[in-house]
Symmetry: C2
Subunit: 210 residues, 2 copies
Amino acid sequence: MSAVADAHDLTVRGDLSTGAVESTPEERVLEALQECVLRWGVQKTTVEDIARSAGMSRATVYRLFPGGKSSMVEAGALAMVTDLVDQVALAVAAATDLTGALTALLVVSSTILADDEMLNFLMEHEQSVVEAQLALGGLDRLLAAVGAGAGPALEPHLGDAARAQEAAVWAARTVASHLLDPADGVSLADPTAAHHLVTTYFLPGFAPGD
Amino acid sequence: MSAVADAHDLTVRGDLSTGAVESTPEERVLEALQECVLRWGVQKTTVEDIARSAGMSRATVYRLFPGGKSSMVEAGALAMVTDLVDQVALAVAAATDLTGALTALLVVSSTILADDEMLNFLMEHEQSVVEAQLALGGLDRLLAAVGAGAGPALEPHLGDAARAQEAAVWAARTVASHLLDPADGVSLADPTAAHHLVTTYFLPGFAPGD
DNA sequence: AATGAGACAAATCGGGTCGTATTGTTCCAT
DNA sequence: ATGGAACAATACGACCCGATTTGTCTCATT
């Protein structure tokens, strides 16, 4: 019923590292959306703009995304989150100890967000669009996604799956808080700052028993 | 120049615990503002409404608050924050150990916010007003105020003043995050949940050395 | 079978106007 | 020091209007 339920399969076909050699029509639409948004912003981008940019007719775009522009934006956001979670999970899994894992979680997610062209554009020119995505439990879903995606990678160092997920959500909440309110000169993308934060607030509570 | 700089002295004269026996004209205006807002919301409340409710003329209200309605709202918010910080500092100071102090900080602040009639009303009916106060570095100032107000009360258990303030700001950020996004069924107003959070994430990092 | 082109009503949006309510200031009487 | 009144300037809401956009549909094309 909700637009979220209509989310399409955004699985990439082809090798990401070598650029999109093969991509689904849905992906082409999302790429077109990104192009248009970076040029004119979300509000000024029309479905016709997207269709033209994607090299297909408006009718086809509507066939691919029956929900219209809003569903495309939602799908785009979902794709970004999915990518983010995947990369974070990868970085966390590569860590050898709990400190490194948590630090990686903070640094990688913060770095990705700080370097994301689309997100930076929206935060600067159309912050309301970002807020709209986060409202109505959007942040909850985001945090839950991070917990579900990065939690398991944290489990080897914590044993308990529930504790791992809790820690991941907690870290994600921290990143989100600092992202939406950069405030104090602390940047979690800085490995030193992140490490300090982890060793000060996170780590000790987990190490051995409760 | 800014409306903040025009903030008036809101010191209460008389005993708070026995109700306002004696109050300044400014306070009467702020009380009137609260009455009107709870009835009609911020947007629909006019200066004339406030003056009538305060039992004085519109001219007098403008003499007291040259900045108009916006400065009254700002002064009201400031008063609320001041009260909050004072009560939190009091509760923190009453704690005998670090665990109790941090837990009190979370529980008392969360409880006050959760029980605040005005804040609940605004969050439900005029969330944009709250957001407007938090934007433009408003949250930063709020966090700094908590750090400055409650930090010293934390110092006896931490020794270092800078560390105490850092911890207070961190806790405040946690409360703010959970307030703006209640999400996961965790309520920091619940002493058990707060205690769990403190012992898990906060405490261990501070106890002895670095 | 999938796509493009076009048509279509409905909804949305930006701009413009207008009358009213509110604002912020001022003067004067008490 | 306060209230009452007046005042211009402004903000606001309601309304209308034309243009754009949306979402759905049909039909021809490949």
